[in-house]
Symmetry: D2
Subunit: 335 residues, 4 copies
């Protein structure tokens, strides 16, 4: 951390600040220039409150050098984290996977049919919503516990591990058979929920909020990891901008940026990002090319009659064609 | 709702769509032009899924006419909602209030001292955080239950009703003595939490998420109201943009826009929006001038040593000066 | 400027960098910590290229201390700049003005009628577009030279100084009778045009681009001032965000922020920002309350038949009512 | 265009509106519902002013069906536009090209050396800035006419066609030997400049502004095309968001969206978008995978000493490696 003091900072105030910093256990490095004095803070600065420093009358500005996340930080953990599921499927560290399935679980035949189709096309994990976060209280909110039961059935039928969204820690007991717990964009900073996930032993896929920075995404991942559960994947699913032709703007530079600053696997969701089925395959290819560790894609056997987000769902045929190209590009992708 | 069909939509497909819409209980109004056919949907369209319509091959675009919120909608509730607290303090419908207090409750003397100071300056409600949403898991998370106890003490001491943030429905039992429950920006779309608030009988202040539209804010308010609790206030506290000189960008046009589309009281939080104490008074005045029903402002008796967000806290003296000007401007403010 | 070196920076590289910086005439202040070395650059760093420094292998990050603008900077020019027009009207330094008039000049009777109406209500400067920047090449592009002629006529008739937009330096010869040259948001970084304005002796109102930071706005003002013309006002007119209920988001915190970092007058345009007539008066009041030096507002005697932007134009009656409240609030506004 | 009238619209007002619309030559299609009346406008609606309609008291909302651009619109021009340069190099319609070179032309040896290197690696067009748009008036502004002379020399030496930026129509006479004129993001809505480009017979590469929608980008392309010059390419180079880890956010979904709504070639600039050399190759691969018609990349033989934007320039070796992967991915890319 670097503290730049104001021109007119008096010596007493400076000494007072230095004492207070030293008492927090950090090492100081003071350099006095003609106009400004600069204090460098070395050692563990995680307990120093940047806002408090900024509030001081004698402080011009404060700059963090170290990121506010540690367990998620590649600086302290050089090797890629590899998430391994019960059936041996791995994500990260060179292991690429396609996750596919419907937005919502609707019926037994629907989820099993879609599961079989995406498996045939190369998907290795099944997605499907049981508890659905919906903007409107009047929209279909998902089948809930019954949806989880149908997902389990599809898992047994096809052997595909399953991922589904958790919206409330009170539901955790229903998620025993779920292989990966998804936390949606709207709950990325639901810190109480994140703390609960730190206490369990199950992989978590954490989606980036619509207006959250990559640093905040990793600091939320840190909430889970700080609790003891280090099996976290982060997912870019589109951010909010002024552009209206796509539902959100898929920030693909998140992939190489995240790979540089974290060791956690990076997943891309082109379906929610674009909101338009025709745009999903090109963005899935692009995500693969720039190094994503996994794709999570909505596929429905009857998009026009899907109970939610049909507009962004691929048919199984479109998914198979997309998957064919993804596999061809994969060897030339870059990290 | 208006559905614009594609040029090449064939007659069978159109008939199929019309039947399916009629079966949902809406009335249709079809107008056939040279190039396009337009279907107007009249009546209660809240059960029609816009995404499903957009997914249909024959549909070019769909436009909602009615907002997706009803109970919060001024169209169906012309009169301003007035929130009345136990001690008779009212917000909305011409009743303007100043809410003030520290970011975090720290000690008994701190909260009581600040409460007395802001009361003397004209504040009628005391704010103070007990459960604090912090970006980093390593930052001070608030005093929790002990903080609530201290707030109650300050309430007893000064007579000021209290508002504090709830982050987890599991904590609700601790909030009996709290007069207004605040839901923070990060939980604006924590739908499970909103549903719980619909079941209680206590005013709720719902903050706008950092990247949420005003329509989404009201649709989240609708989650609470749909559950039966219609005592909701909405609060603008800054949105995310590219500008870096302020922490967020305070969207003050939200005030007149909200007053046109909803009957709920509109509260402005200039402290979190700007993140800089010197910017709080001018923005508080601006909010008053354009018609805000209440201001919620951070005040600390020792900003430089506040445990959180000291940088944005006013001293009691600054607050008193601000309050003096707010009262002078109030009679000329506009709605 | 503060340069933070990477952990592994070797001594030879560091010496090489120090020599190269010294040769640019800046004074160095090196502080060597356990893990990082920090170089503080003092003196005139305006010739040091931040991008070049960032590109160096041994550099971790570079932070500017000084703003990249000088003539516009309050640090080097403490007193407010006051723009004085030929007829003695002043803007800035406590002098508040209302600028009003139609989006486009349409006919002689229209511009004179509006001029008389806004003057009666308290406006002291007349606005009116002759050259109009229009998104579409097929939209009305303004009356051009004829529009300037009609503005002059209205000026003669009413005594109001006039402000109008310049889009091309080739048109400058037509602007002799114009009192203030407006540069639109879309040309804020048309640097060749800004350079031409540096060579003339006439006040310039520079509008903030839709996605430009306040620092960039002032750096563009610096282009004009560096050329020798220091009569510059800056204008906030809405920035682009995800919100769709207003055309743009009026960033009113720009007012107190700009007053802190620059001595130039700050003007607010609530008409273009909101795009909706009903929202203009409350935002004009808010702008006044937080310390704007001037308002620029669209007024049309027949908004429904205006050739452009009628939707955001006030009637003369609405403007008069707004002006009445603005004047009442003004004494309590804050800077 | 679809006009939705307000509930309380009276019959006289409606008739008045209908007459006025009919007089503009559009065909009307009125459908009267229980609560709302809807008027569909068919035929050529390009002369109908949406803002004027919105301003009418009886109008609730207006929705455009047709895009405000025609010549750039794929609806009216199904086949891809192919830009063919003098030496036969083609862009668009399945012809993919790599454009590479330094940010600024600095010296004869520099530009020739880089030109030879990028040609060897597969680039077919040379980029290089002579007139440079710089945020600060004190930054290096390019070599100007001398830079153009050096570019010509490199063209003669290597046979590579050249692209460089034009900032002022007054400079056009110097651009005779230039093969493609680039218009920078900051001038995307410099309409006077666009009009001048409509009068010449030379390909234009138009960059998207930092806060402009894709529709606005194409409407600016329309300015050039409406003047008679239909050789236009559009270029995505990053938009402004709240994320700070990249200079801008590269909006790659622009590629498939643009391919659906326009026939013009789509170029991606990963260098300016990210601002960081290490991020350029992965984003270039991603752009290729999702169907870009060309890449424009900064390459410098000595990035650390480049006079501008060295931080984002690749070395020739990095570029060669990137080019190798781009060619491998190309056959599987998607449109």
């Amino acid at each position: 951390m670097i503290i730049l003091l104001k021109k007119n900072a008096n010596q007493t105030q400076i000494e007072h600040l230095k004492e207070s910093l030293t008492s927090m256990g950090v090492q100081l490095n003071v350099s006095v220039g003609q106009s400004h004095t600069i204090i460098g803070l070395l050692g563990d600065t995680s307990r120093v409150d940047i806002d408090m420093l900024n509030a001081l009358e004698i402080v011009e500005s404060v700059q963090r050098i170290q990121e506010p996340f540690k367990k998620a930080n590649r600086r302290f953990h050089e090797d890629d984290t590899i998430i391994e599921l019960e059936n041996g499927v791995k994500i990260g560290g060179g292991n690429f996977q396609m996750i596919a399935g419907p937005c919502s679980v609707e019926t037994e035949s629907q989820i099993i049919e879609v599961a079989q189709a995406v498996k045939a096309a190369g998907a290795t994990i099944l997605r499907g919503g049981a508890f659905k976060p919906r903007t409107s209280p009047y929209a279909f909110q998902g089948l809930g516990a019954e949806g989880l039961r149908l997902l389990s059935k599809a898992k047994k039928e096809t052997g595909l591990p399953i991922i589904t969204e958790l919206m409330d820690a009170a539901h955790l007991s229903l998620f025993d058979d779920v292989d990966i717990i998804q936390i949606g964009a709207r709950n990325m900073q639901n810190f109480e929920l994140l703390k609960q996930l730190g206490k369990i032993n199950k992989p978590v896929l954490l989606k980036r909020g619509l207006a959250n920075t990559l640093q905040e995404l990793l600091t939320s991942a840190e909430y889970v990891m700080a609790g003891g559960n280090e099996q976290v994947m982060v997912c870019e699913r589109g951010i909010r901008t002024f552009e209206t032709r796509t539902r959100n703007t898929l920030d693909l530079s998140a992939v190489p940026v995240l790979h540089r600053i974290t060791h956690l696997p990076v997943v891309i969701d082109p379906s929610h990002a674009t909101g338009v089925a025709k745009l999903v395959p090109p963005m899935a290819l692009a995500a693969t090319a720039c190094g994503a560790d996994a794709l999570i894609v909505e596929v429905h056997n009857d998009p026009a009659h899907a109970l939610c987000d049909g507009a962004q769902s691929l048919t199984p045929e479109d998914f198979a064609e997309m998957a064919r190209r993804v596999k061809a590009i994969l060897p030339y992708s870059m990290r």
